[in-house]
């Protein structure tokens, strides 16, 4: 009754292919509520509501972005105050060394820069997206196929029940495999 974590090894899986998002959404919701373990679903474009259907929790990346932004802000303040007021105080037009309003533009920019770069870095890391990534890529899933992958190793997996669900939601074809990567 839960979605799996990325690190977990799956022994056997069954992948069902669909040609539209409504069937996939329907079967994902029903399969989960009927006790199947959904490994993942694969779609050519993001489908809103799918997270809820497969029981995926809201991503905490927003918080990471916030913390990274705060880090950027603090770095900008430290950098500017230290260089302009402590390490090498330079008299420019008689302005105060630590004139705060003038530091605002750089503070803003570094907040945005840190937040953006760190959150995208964390996204790539969490999803193991990198140039030599070796992941299961289902045929036509980046084109026009919608795929539901069920884990089979659980004792509760009922092949007959699964087959009936696949038919009910007009699966185009079903593929089984030994190891999900």
């Amino acid at each position: 009754m839960r979605a799996t974590e990325p690190g977990e090894k799956t022994v056997r899986y069954a992948a069902a292919f669909f040609d539209n998002e409504n069937d996939l959404m329907g079967i994902a919701a029903e399969a989960r509520l009927r006790g199947f373990v959904i490994q993942d679903v694969f779609t050519p474009y993001p489908i809103h509501g799918m997270d809820r259907a497969v029981g995926l929790k809201r991503s905490r990346l927003g918080w990471i972005a916030f913390i990274a932004g705060a880090l950027g802000l603090i770095s900008a303040i430290l950098l500017q105050v230290w260089t302009s007021a402590y390490d090498w105080p330079l008299n420019v037009g008689g302005k105060p060394f630590n004139s705060f309003p003038l530091f605002v533009p750089v503070m803003f920019e570094l907040t945005v820069l840190f937040s953006g770069l760190i959150s995208i870095g964390v996204l790539f890391m969490l999803n193991r997206l990198w140039i030599f990534s070796k992941k299961q890529i289902f045929e036509r899933v980046t084109d026009d196929r919608f795929v539901l992958v069920l884990r089979q190793e659980d004792a509760s997996f009922d092949a007959e029940k699964a087959a009936r669900l696949f038919t009910k939601y007009h699966a185009i074809n079903v593929m089984e495999g030994d190891r999900f990567v």
């Binding site: 959404m25 679903v41 799918m50 990346l61 927003g62 390490d87 953006g116 980046t142 084109d143 026009d144």
Partner: protein
């Protein structure tokens, strides 16, 4: 049906009802208004979308592309020659003098940065406002942003005279004692603003590209092509878990880029506004520059997309509706720019400051009056024609008006910079700015760089966001 369900789950009817309601809740879809026009014409299927868009970079380029590419590379070559001349001989090859110390260089810089703004506006602000029509145009608009920022960056770096020492403007620990950059200088803010803008725009654009690069990878025939897209697509497999995080980060980047749009041109305007030069020292500059930037950027996106949709047969994706919407934004921002011109005139006279008044009168009636009136008519008057539907839906008219807007916006920067400088407080030092061939060469070259890079982009990457278009394919059609 109930029997089958009961059999499947072996549940009591109460539980069955609960499951049913839960599924209904999850699968309930948004009901789209039937009064809206569909965003994509011609009843395309998912694989049609993939095929149509991938065809643009999979088939060999047509004669049209080669002709445009030839022209662009020629312009770029002129620019390279001018740049070499600038670096080897010196800034003396520009038409600058002691009075007008900033002219074409900064004009081009501000112009190109402004062009970039529409891309971020479309990809970030329209995303946050859930404007689904942005999906057909955001990719090329973002590419335009990146290229425009590169074009802009060339000018301050060349203006340094010794471009190879450009890293001196960064705060870095060095061997010249505790020597740090001056954080009170708007020019340093520019460095931070533009490098951040470029970096964030780049990752935003790339993140959006990853799923489409995976599509290109899965279709690629040749080995070289396959390797290229495999490396760039980072093993993307369309997993929902990835999509979910991707969308979160995309939203975060959009939320970060939105204030960035407003900040970058505000900071660029501080280069002028924090000075004491009449005509520059003005509090209206930040909003006025931002509006002008979005205005010129939208005109440039429209100018680029009209030939692209024609040559690459994308009429079903970039419809008249899209052009119409872009014209409306051009009209809105153009009106803000027009209002800003009037406000500038008003505050100039209302200040009672003789120097301010002199600058305003000189702009309107002085030696550069022609530039002022080109600017005024192209930016404040001509876009008002977009109130008429006929001007928003006839493609030749849109193209003509948008080109005029771009001309006007280039002149706006020229007028602000040159007319404020050429007659300063001391009449004995009054001078005129006359551009040299090198100045013109660099301007022409920047257009060459822009179009060359854009044409290469069209040949390498999907010019329209495949995954986002698929998401809105049934919009207003279900």
């Amino acid at each position: 049906m109930a029997a089958v369900l009961k059999d499947i789950g072996r549940q009591t009817s109460d539980e069955e009802d609960r499951v049913r309601t839960e599924i209904d809740k999850i699968t309930a879809h948004t009901v789209y208004s039937r009064l809206r026009e569909p965003l994509i014409d011609d009843n395309k299927s998912y694989s049609d979308v993939t095929g149509d868009i991938c065809a643009l970079f999979e088939r060999s380029p047509g004669t049209g592309w080669w002709i445009l590419f030839g022209i662009s590379v020629t312009l770029l070559t002129i620019g390279v020659v001018a740049a070499i001349n600038t670096v080897t001989v010196g800034i003396g090859t520009w038409g600058l003098n002691k009075t007008v110390g900033w002219a074409f260089g900064i004009t081009n810089f501000v112009f190109w940065i402004g062009i970039g703004h529409a891309g971020t506006f479309i990809s970030a602000i329209l995303y946050l406002f859930a404007q689904k029509w942005r999906t057909s145009i955001n990719r090329s608009a973002e590419a335009m942003t990146l290229i425009a920022v590169m074009c802009a960056g060339v000018f301050p770096i060349l203006h340094m005279g010794r471009p190879w020492l450009f890293y001196w403007i960064m705060p870095y620990p060095n061997t010249r004692g505790s020597l740090w950059v001056n954080f009170r200088s708007p020019l340093l803010w520019d460095f931070f603003a533009i490098s951040t803008y470029f970096t964030i725009s780049l990752v935003f654009w790339y993140l959006g590209l990853v799923p489409d690069l995976a599509t290109a990878r899965d279709r690629a025939k040749g080995k070289l092509r396959k390797t290229f897209y495999t490396i760039l697509s980072l093993g993307w497999n369309g997993s929902n878990r990835t999509w979910s995080r991707y969308e979160t980060v995309y939203g975060v980047l959009a939320a970060l880029a939105t204030p960035l749009v407003l900040s970058v041109h505000s900071i660029v305007s501080f280069d002028f506004a924090t000075s004491l030069v009449p005509g520059w020292h003005s509090t209206i500059f930040p909003p006025y520059f931002v509006a002008g930037a979005v205005f010129s950027g939208f005109a440039m996106v429209t100018t680029l997309l009209i030939p692209v949709r024609k040559v690459m047969r994308l009429e079903a994706y970039i419809t008249i509706q899209h052009l119409d919407n872009m014209c409306k934004i051009t009209l809105l921002t153009g009106s803000i720019v027009g209002l800003s011109y009037l406000t500038e005139l008003f505050t100039g006279f209302y200040s009672g400051n003789p120097n301010e008044i002199a600058v305003i009168v000189n702009r309107m009636l002085g030696p550069y009056a022609w530039a002022y009136w080109v600017m005024f008519s192209c930016n404040a008057l001509i876009p008002q024609l977009f109130w008429l539907k006929a001007f928003r839906t006839r493609i030749p008219l849109i193209l003509m008006l948008c080109i005029l807007v771009n001309v006007g916006m280039w002149f706006e920067r020229f007028v602000i910079i040159v007319t404020s400088l050429h007659r300063d407080y001391l009449p004995s030092s009054w001078a005129m700015f006359i551009p040299t061939l090198t100045d013109v060469g660099l301007l022409v070259g920047s257009f060459g760089l822009f179009f060359t890079a854009f044409l290469i982009f069209l040949r390498l990457f999907p010019a329209i966001s495949i995954n986002e278009v698929k998401g809105v394919l049934h919009y207003a059609r279900d």
